[in-house]
Amino acid sequence: MSEDYKWHYGFFLGCVIPNRYPMIEASIRSVFDHLGAEMLDLPGASCCPAPGVFRAFHIPTWLVIAARNISIAEEIGVNPITGCNGCYGTLRDAWYELEHEYELKKEVNEYLAKIGRTYKGNLEPKHVVQALYLDMGLDHLKDYIKFTFSDLKIAVHYGCHIVKPSDKRPWDGEYEVPRFLDEIVELTGAKSVDYKDKYMCCGAGGAVRTAVKEVAADFTREKLMNIREVGADIIINCCPFCHLQLDLGQVEVNNFYADIIGEPFNIPVIYITQLLGVAFGMDPNLLGLIKNHELTGVSPFISIDPFLNIIKNQLI
């Protein structure tokens, strides 16, 4: 741990961020460093494991692997932090169960002993947005704002597991109409526009995307139609699986539901730290906003050029 930083976290990467949307990883690392928060690696961390699939297959496996992941952060002595609502769901729910059920903790530690690890507890798993809003606070973020947008309409998508189950989350029980992400977004001068069923699920979670892609895409279709109706320029989210579903899923919606959507969708999908970094005046290369490759079939699947044009026109 370095004393140059005010905050220290153990960056739990998960799967989708590092392995499918590395631009999100780059932006979280850069923005947190910029804000005075050190992101330490958690060497050898695995899948969280994903709450909708692996927890649904076998709860004990889910709990033991989650405890192993948290124990890696304990070794370093920092709170694990994730940029993914799914990982947040797993780490936080597992932590909650292990903190409240002594027998369960004992049992889990019997398994962990086989690989020479221990789950101690006490270190609360956090979400990137939780750190921004609750640890650092809006005033701290405000100090870093260099540019503000004059005309940018944003559809904010929270996702589910950042607020629910609300008894295991840090938002004072608010899950129906939370505002914290909108408040962060509006620091950039952008307007967070209301749209129908704003807090609805993207459709990917709970093993649905792996089960039947068309069902997941139909959730997404409904969201996208509601978002288009209010004329949002971009979508901002705080979960890579929602991000994937809203980005790659847009292509799927255009394909599966061409007959009912009218014009195909092409709304840029941007992660919260990418947007914040722009307003902080950071190099867009550090925020994963600039394409530096000739690869095909990789993310983002929906062009973010309209967003880059807005940046050029309004900020530069």
Partner: protein, 200 residues
């Protein structure tokens, strides 16, 4: 006993039961749903039920009466675990958690979709990631990482082979491997029986 008794009478099974499946529901702690008053808030709040045949109340009702059919339908796998039913239940039943427990029992009985089985057995167990970046097929993702100034593989299990072994050891000890092997066996047996039925 009249065969119509078994066919039509569905009692709450959580006091005393002779059915193997119903007993499993009890053992899994599903008795919390005895508090259900069938109000339908769960179904009414469900974004999946708006577009699919999945009806949360029906799944809960079938679990409550020990009705095995709830395990066989794909319906319980169309829940996106958004937790609205959990939050809004006026009887404070952790509905989403109950659906997850039902899924656990379904897997135990060999009712797991092929895509889920491959994800669990061939991807998660083998690599430690649910969405990996290793292997020739995933080279583009490693290249993508590098294009953003990141190392081709993240500092996760992907960079620590002994960590994959640790995870596998835990999964074996806790019974995940056995569960998957058993699910595969049950699936195969069922497929064979169905094929035989068709031939006859």
């Amino acid at each position: 006993m009249s065969e119509n008794v078994n066919k039509y009478i569905k009692r709450k099974v959580y006091k005393k039961t002779s059915s193997r499946i119903a007993q499993k529901f009890v053992d899994a702690g599903l008795q919390e749903i005895r508090a259900c008053i069938n109000c339908g808030t769960c179904t009414g709040s469900c974004p999946s039920g708006r577009r699919t045949a999945y009806r949360t109340r029906s799944a809960i009702r079938r679990a409550l009466t020990g009705d095995e059919s709830v395990l066989k339908d794909i319906d319980i796998w169309l829940c996106s675990t958004c937790y609205y039913c959990y939050e809004r239940c006026p009887r404070n039943i952790p509905v989403t958690d109950m659906i997850i427990k039902l899924r656990n029992i379904a897997v135990e009985e060999g009712y797991i979709l092929d895509s889920h089985f491959v994800l669990a057995n061939n991807i998660f167990y083998a690599t430690g990631h649910g969405v990996p970046a290793t292997g020739e097929n995933n080279k583009k993702w490693r290249d993508l990482r590098e294009s953003y100034g990141l190392p081709p593989l993240p500092p996760t299990v992907h960079s620590y082979p002994e960590a994959v072994k640790e995870c596998q050891e835990l999964m074996k000890a806790v019974g995940f491997k056995k569960l998957m092997d058993n699910a595969a066996k049950l699936k195969e047996e069922r497929a064979k029986a169905e094929k035989k039925d068709k031939e006859e």
